[in-house]
Symmetry: C2
Subunit: 171 residues, 2 copies
């Protein structure tokens, strides 16, 4: 699928078919993640591919009771590793949230290109997600997404105008 088309069709999907995700699509998506750039190419990230029903069930309360998360055949848990990341991005921050976000954006667009739905989940309790999936203290959970075939057409949400988002030469 054309890149701009993938950007356009990607939506937050909150209803999924029960159909399993094809192995080929999952492989393409994970390879898209793998190709993502990270600061200094440190690749300080891990993705957990959750298909086990018990683990998925535990992710619902961990995601503040967003039940649709576990209705997709797969949930991806995206983690960053601060100790392996670039520690002084902009002179002030560890790069891991940015690194993981780039990786997961690649995932979301690749999924859209494969006809799959995703939804950035930022509303979760890190310690509960860690408990459900065995994430160790040295890793930080940055975001999750369900992954499956959409069971409904999601509406596109509005966006600000470019004039509000972009300026020239000065902020």
């Amino acid at each position: 699928m054309d890149l701009f088309e993938a950007i356009k069709v990607r939506r937050s999907v909150r209803k999924f078919k029960r159909d399993a995700v094809s192995e080929e699509s999952l492989k393409k998506i994970l390879n898209a993640a793998r190709m993502a750039p990270t600061a200094e190419n440190f690749q300080p990230w891990k993705i957990i591919v959750v298909t086990d029903e018990d683990v998925k069930r535990k992710l619902v309360p961990a995601c503040n009771n967003q039940r649709f998360v576990a209705e997709a055949p797969i949930v991806l848990v995206a983690c960053g590793l601060p100790d392996e990341a670039y520690p002084i991005m902009g002179g002030y921050m560890n790069s891991y949230p940015v690194d993981v976000a780039i990786v997961l954006d690649h995932v979301m667009l690749a999924a859209a290109a494969e006809g799959l739905g995703t939804c950035w989940i930022g509303s979760f309790k890190e310690e509960k997600v860690a408990e459900a999936t065995g994430v160790p203290p040295e890793a930080k959970v940055v975001a999750l997404t369900p992954l499956g075939y959409p069971a409904e057409d999601s509406e596109r949400t509005d966006r600000k105008n470019l004039t509000e988002l972009v300026s020239y030469n000065k902020y």
Copy 2:
């Protein structure tokens, strides 16, 4: 361009032609940014499109003397607005670095699809970038990128194997 092709051809470009970026391409790229998802759709971001030679010159020391930054016809400065972002991603972090990274990843892929080169710049002094471009205290500079037509074929950097990056059901 096909999404997976754009992911594949995107490289960190550090040599640029002097040719101006076409208005049409810039518009497509900024619109790709605009379509990017952000936590709660708050869109807490701004991009400064720097074309002014004086401002670009000031960005070189601000980017720890990476001279190639100013050799591209355009430099994009990507900022986040913590006060307008989702404050408790995962229960522990402000979403602005993730939001801005998603936006800028859309930019990088859109640029690749338009035959343009970019390079994630994380090595910079935020206060100097802010001074050069008038970024106010309430905004945080997350990353920059030069934007222009590549003057060389960049080599793809290696990536870890998927077995190191991905696990199933448990971390």
